[in-house]
Symmetry: C2
Subunit: 227 residues, 2 copies
DNA sequence: AACTGTAATTTTGAATTCATAATTTAGTCA
DNA sequence: TGACTAAATTATGAATTCAAAATTACAGTT
């Protein structure tokens, strides 16, 4: 292993995988506006790639539902609608509930300690009213529980569905009441996880997801029901 | 609507979508052997298409997990393993349970009647020990319940995950006891659906899925744990 | 000015081409 | 004979090219 070997590091992902990630991010952050056409040519120029890998990536992103392909008319950014939220959150609810149950069966003491550390960090972010940090740590907690569930397929499924809701989380703010309630729910989540009480944890995660759904729906409604 | 309009029907799917379906079928039926390389060139010749749409389709199929892409080494048919079965069935379980709950909230009397007709048909197939017909009608029942749940995302998610298990259902036979038990479970499913008892239907569908998992796992074990 | 039909332009879907990486084959030497 | 190396072959990933479809621009008509 000389230093030279690092100079020409093999790209960790293939071009099209990299592009899938980039496209997802562009859509989640709203840089690609919902309902608009995906500017294929421009994106190719922007990323310095030809149309072939870009179009491969678009096919994959379309199969996840973030864009819609129309025959001979190109790719369009799917808007996030209330009805989509009402479809996806209940699914995410039962999946997270399952992840909670499985996590209680498989999580180690060390992992519980790690989640507790994240939990404390999240509380601090809440007390400092640092939404950015709060969201980030929040995600880490959910990911840690998913990881403890020892089910990669479940992780993949959750992440694919979450992705479609991420746009709302990126753009929407929570109300003060909702934020407080969410923190309360997380206290319970932490408690039941530490007790390894799968049934109760599942119940709480499901309720937590219902709360999120209501919050996102409310915000979406204030936005005219879309995006 | 003249007869002429049918002569030049617009292809209902784009080339790559069609190829996605074909590839999935080739893998499910075992024509493409698990663990082997996907013969890209041969398939292109077989279907009379160039590599571009075939490779687009492979990217999509890979994102569903039926094939694995290896950098510079092409696409490989993913084997169906016990650990994958143990990951996917619990997920399908909670998703079908959810579909049952939602179906009870939304299903019409006509739809219940239609499911009952399918149910009777399935019983006949069972009594005639016609496994082929039984599987076919069975699938229709599950699809009808999913449809009554009025959640397209749930339908898509279930179908994507089912696809990966379909190989086992295609190749595996059920034991007599398992088949009898499955039919019993379906009696209950029909009963609770007719009563629109979401909670009980969910419970039954979950148990039904657990039975399927055990059956498939047992068969997979008899096959050396794979395929 | 609004509408219709047609030509020019652009975009899309798919085939082809090309450079590079992986694999196979052939050849060399112990 | 068998292991190793180098050349040849093949397959892969990505860019380019090409035909067909869609969109735009525009002229002629009312």
């Amino acid at each position: 292993m000389t230093e030279n070997s690092a100079i020409r590091t093999i790209p960790r992902k293939s071009l099209h995988e990299e592009l899938v990630d980039r496209l997802q991010m562009l859509i989640i952050t709203g840089e690609l506006q919902p309902g608009t056409k995906v500017p294929e040519k421009d994106l190719c120029a922007q990323f310095g790639v030809s149309r072939t890998p870009m179009r491969e990536a678009l096919k994959v992103v379309a199969s996840d539902g973030l864009v819609r392909l129309e025959q001979n008319r190109g790719a369009w950014v799917s808007p996030l609608t209330i009805s989509e939220v009402e479809e996806v959150f209940p699914i995410l609810g039962v999946l997270e509930a399952l992840s909670g149950e499985l996590a209680c069966q498989n999580i180690t003491d060390d992992e519980i300690a790690a989640v507790r550390a994240l939990h404390e960090q999240m509380i601090s972010s809440y007390e400092a009213r640092d939404l950015e940090a709060y969201f980030s740590v929040n995600q880490k907690i959910h990911r840690a529980i998913l990881k403890a569930a020892r089910n990669d397929t479940l992780t993949t499924s959750c992440q694919a569905l979450s992705l479609r809701m991420q746009r709302a989380r990126y753009l929407a703010n929570m109300s003060d009441e909702r934020w407080a309630a969410a923190v309360q729910e997380h206290e319970k989540i932490m408690e039941y996880l530490a007790l390894r009480d799968g049934k109760q944890l599942a119940r709480t995660l499901l309720a937590h997801m219902r709360g999120k759904q209501a919050s996102v729906t409310k915000w979406l409604q204030s936005q005219g029901g879309q995006v």
